[in-house]
């Protein structure tokens, strides 16, 4: 899957000796680690889907040829140290504030490609205001949202997206919706906002779904390159360690419980709806509002 149509696949420099020396003459590399990833070993637990998504993001950066003008924003959570994993410029943000930091970066360098990579606690709890407002402002950024229904880094507490009756460290009798409320469906929520160009929910429990996830992530980056508007990809993910399962079993739990609550699919796509960008779609939605229809003179 790496660089499928872009010709020769090559190893990153740091693997030339380690891996390259094991490749015989005449053998051709079919799939290799993307160049946008550094040699730093992910700090994720074995079998954690964060790594799969980090891989996809790096492949998209490679394939779009944008590493040199990309700035990534790391969150607080398990992916806090992803500033070490990507070879593009990176900023570590305070918990939940990645969309605001991304806004600052994008406003200074509109031609740069700015993405935030955030988990559910970061994006859907402490950073909900920043998320909703970056989206409604139509910030031309790309947001990768990892929803695994738990706080992983702090050891498995209830997340805003933890399912009803899900047992966590802070919902030891199961999430009691009468007290703790209901999970937040972020893709559905954001799809209602005018600044949003594209929202899709994907997962990564199988080859087929990972390929689909990559297509969505690439589109979210392409939208930014084309100036279409805010794009977010929610990746329904696992946390084998804090769910207390093997990586394989956690995929089954995801299929059994997560996907029925968080259905996969495209929740908004202004291009597919026939608009040039989010702004045009927003205008069409307010045809009866004269003030919203006023054209700005440049």
């Amino acid at each position: 899957m790496a660089q499928p149509d872009s010709g020769t696949v090559t190893l990153p420099d740091y693997q030339q000796e380690r891996i390259g020396s094991q490749i015989a003459e005449g053998e051709v590399i079919k799939s290799a680690r993307p160049h946008a990833l550094s040699d730093v070993v992910f700090n994720y637990c074995p079998g954690c889907t964060h790594g799969i998504v980090n891989h996809l993001v790096a492949e998209c950066i490679d394939e779009l040829g944008i590493e040199g003008r990309t700035v990534g924003i790391a969150p607080v959570g398990c992916s806090v140290m992803c500033y070490d994993f990507f070879n593009c410029d990176m900023i570590e943000a305070a918990h939940g504030r990645a969309p605001a930091v991304a806004t600052g970066v994008k406003r200074v360098h509109p031609d740069n490609i700015v993405f935030s990579y955030q988990g559910d606690g970061d994006l859907a709890s402490i950073g909900t205001a920043e998320t909703v407002h970056a989206a409604t402002r139509g910030e031309k950024i790309t947001v990768i949202f990892i929803n695994n229904a738990i706080y992983g880094m702090t050891g498995g507490q209830m997340a805003p997206t933890s399912l009803p009756n899900q047992v966590t460290q802070t919902s030891p009798y199961g999430r009691d919706v009468s007290a703790a409320g209901y999970p937040v469906r972020i893709s559905e929520l954001l799809a209602t906002l005018d600044g949003v160009a594209y929202v899709e929910r994907v997962t990564c429990d199988s080859r087929q779904h990972i390929v689909q996830a990559k297509r969505a992530i690439k589109k979210a980056f392409q939208n930014q390159i084309d100036g279409i508007g805010y794009s977010l990809v929610e990746v329904v993910s696992t946390c084998p360690t804090n769910w207390g399962m093997t990586p394989q079993d956690s995929f089954q739990w995801l299929r059994d419980n997560m996907l029925p609550y968080y259905p996969l699919g495209v929740y908004k796509d202004v291009i597919a709806d026939g608009f040039a960008n989010a702004a045009e779609a927003a205008l069409a939605r307010a045809t009866d509002c004269p003030i919203a229809q006023q054209q700005k003179e440049d």
Binding site: I91, E92, V101
Partner: protein, 398 residues
């Protein structure tokens, strides 16, 4: 002088808050992120109007927290950027300021103070002295804090704040109050600088363009030794700031036995009280800190050395800077405090009453000594003109 400075006499009558905005743009600031709050509103409104005209960006954020994090992002991307707020809003910015300090990202934060705690009031106050000089956000850090007392100083000090922030890679604060912010005075604006002409920031996360290794702006250090090293390096920069950037104005301190210490709006009242005390033959003087951090300890030493016996800290709070005065005086003289809080301003008469109380039993000047011309303000290490000669430092070619 650049073409952008005003012609002829060059002075314009402007409101303090607007001067902060105008001078920030002249310092090369092209990005402003803020949230509405009284009494700093004119600053944001001015930015909203003017920044788009010079290719800059004004953005009203969803919260103070978002605003300071936008500042963090824009600053990390290499821009000169600022935010402004008033006391309750500045509390919310504490998180972002701590991250800026921890990641060595420069930026300017304006606090046009109002009364507190809580929602407090909207009248002038200096009750955020501790917050500004000690604890704006968690962790081991300081930042330069500049306290204007005139509209001219609003211009001069925000200009300086941007330079200090960039030079030391630190957030920097303007600690003003509603009185200076709302007041109109003639001001000579500093020359406009092209942001492109400012020193490069090779550490910025602006996209590596395939020309360098990737940059990371970060405040996370999981190794205690590494975090300690990072903090020690930052504190070395703080020491340099303490050595090089203490600023204050001394007025009538050469022979003063009673020295008032006051900044910002309080210093304007104290100045009148000191003059009135001199008229009554009391050897009073005024030490006006311009940098609240670093606190002008060297000037305190000097004044103690010159024979000051009593210090009176005059503040618009319940007594905050007085602690720094005590630390600097270190037992060599008496230190007392007089202040009003909640937005109430003391009258010069009230302050004079305090001076007279302290002076009881002190030797008084004779009328003859008063008229010998020694009653003249001196400015030490200040970008400010002497009160009797209100020329800006730019006009004087400094």
């Amino acid at each position: 002088m650049s073409d952008n400075t005003q012609a002829a006499e060059g002075r314009v009558l402007m409101k303090g808050n607007e001067v902060l905005a105008e001078a920030a743009m002249r310092a090369g600031c092209r990005f402003f992120f803020g949230y509405p709050i009284t009494p700093q509103t004119e600053l944001a409104a001015y930015m909203a109007k003017k920044l788009p005209q010079i290719g800059g960006t004004f953005l009203q954020a969803e919260s103070e927290i978002a605003a300071i994090n936008m500042v963090y992002g824009a600053a990390a991307a290499g821009a000169r950027v600022m935010t402004s707020s008033s006391s309750p809003g500045v509390s919310l910015k504490g998180e972002g300021v701590s991250y800026m300090a921890g990641a060595d990202v420069p930026g300017v934060i304006v606090n046009v103070e109002r009364g507190g705690p809580g929602l407090g009031g909207i009248q002038p106050s200096q009750s955020d002295y501790f917050q500004a000089t000690r604890a704006l956000g968690h962790g081991d850090f300081y930042m330069p804090v500049l306290a204007p007392s005139t509209v001219q100083e609003m211009a001069d000090l925000i200009y300086l704040a941007f330079d200090l922030a960039d030079e030391y890679r630190t957030p920097a604060m303007i600690l003003a109050d509603g009185m200076i912010g709302q007041m109109m005075e003639p001001v000579l604006l500093p020359p406009a600088r092209d942001p492109e002409s400012l020193p490069a920031k090779p550490w910025a996360t602006s996209g590596h363009r395939g020309e360098r290794a990737h940059n990371v702006v970060n405040s996370l250090y999981l190794s205690p030794e590494k975090l300690e090293d990072t903090n020690r390096e930052r504190f070395a920069r703080y020491e340099e700031m303490r050595a090089r950037h203490q600023r204050q104005e001394l007025m009538l301190c050469d022979d003063a036995e009673i020295v008032l210490v006051a900044f910002g709006a309080a210093s304007r009242i104290a100045r009148t009280a000191v003059r009135d005390a001199r008229a009554k033959g009391i050897k009073a003087g005024l030490l006006r800190p311009i940098t609240l951090w670093p606190f002008p300890t060297k000037a305190i030493d000097e004044v103690v050395g010159a024979g000051a016996k009593r210090f009176l800290s005059v503040e618009l709070n319940m007594g905050q800077m007085v602690e720094d005065v005590r630390l600097a005086v270190n037992g060599r003289a008496d230190v007392s405090f007089y202040g009003r809080t909640g937005g109430v301003l003391p009258t010069p008469e009230e302050v004079l009453g305090q001076i007279e109380r302290l002076a009881t039993g002190e030797e008084r000047l004779t009328a003859g000594e008063m008229s010998n011309g020694s009653a003249r303000a001196t400015v030490m290490g200040s970008v400010l003109p002497q009160p009797t000669d209100r020329k800006s430092s730019y006009e004087r070619g400094e």
